[in-house]
Symmetry: C2
Subunit: 156 residues, 2 copies
DNA sequence: ATTTTTGTTCAGTTCGAATTGAACGCAGAT
DNA sequence: ATCTGCGTTCAATTCGAACTGAACAAAAAT
């Protein structure tokens, strides 16, 4: 079988590169996260560029973004000028939080519009009600994610 | 104030064009849905092209996709060869279902990889555990969306 | 028969996000 | 002082998804 650990590792990194697009991140950001999740320990800036086969410029930009989000952490070691990165304990939570925030934003924006609409005429059915429904939809999604969050942090 | 209904309608359509990107749809698909949600009633193929200011080719492709997803419905009227479209009652549910399915897929794909990994050595901490955690993460997201679904269909 | 209306198809174009790569500044080593 | 290694920056490039628009087929109207 070709099921060596390094094959799985490589597959996982590729998979992460694809999956994170639904989180609004670039492929390289996903692959960085994938590599750091798999390895667990801290890896150097150069390692990332070499192992992922991408330019240092890309590592710089993407790593900075991931650090800002709280998905990964930058470490600096005395006597070593290289930057090291490791996956953050909250990396999953950050993903969840980000998605949840986006849902709340959408809910709010739709609610703003629906609130400016005059009351629907006749028996309930009108634009205001429909937009209100969409706003509720996003609010329910956000709530569902909060429950997912509770579920994940609860039994640990 | 410039808060005429048509302004709000236009803003909502624009907003939908932006929001649906997180659902993996194109801007035009979102604007079609936005227009149909706002108006509630059925609109003709030509109306959509004219009001949204896009090519008929785009309407054709995007409307077909939305019909296939179950987000909108095509109507044909006797003695009128135009196609009419209206928002589907399940349009919100389809969005939810789609996202939930994606989460389940991700959970499964990560699980596949983690299952091929040898048991972690030492005290629990290893790649297998971390990938397992990610798989659980996506599973929890899917569960959260099911709860959102229940929440939405429950109190109506 | 011819013209018009309607939706589909697909080759070409547009557009922007992602990535590259070279220039740069900084800091330690020689 | 010079050189080397490290990370940042930004102009240029790549690449693909989204969109266009013209050609087309089908069906009704003239």
């Amino acid at each position: 079988m070709s099921d060596t650990i390094s094959t799985i590792r490589s597959d996982f990194i590729t998979l992460m590169g694809q999956m994170v697009e639904s989180h609004g991140l670039s492929p390289i950001s996903g692959r960085i996260m994938g590599l750091l999740i798999f390895d667990g320990e801290a890896r150097s800036f150069s390692d990332l560029a070499t192992e992922l086969g991408v330019s240092r410029g890309s590592i710089s930009a993407n790593a900075r973004l991931l650090v800002a989000r709280g998905s990964i952490m930058k470490e600096n070691r005395p006597g070593d000028r290289q930057d090291y990165f490791r996956i953050s304990d909250q990396s999953f939570d950050v993903m969840l939080q980000t998605l949840m925030q986006r849902m709340l934003d959408m809910s709010g924006r739709v609610r703003e519009l629906s609130d400016r609409l005059p009351a629907d005429d006749a028996e309930g059915d009108g634009p205001r009600r429909r937009l209100g429904g969409l706003s509720q939809f996003y609010a329910a999604m956000a709530l569902g994610m909060r429950q997912a969050q509770d579920h994940l942090t609860g039994d640990e």
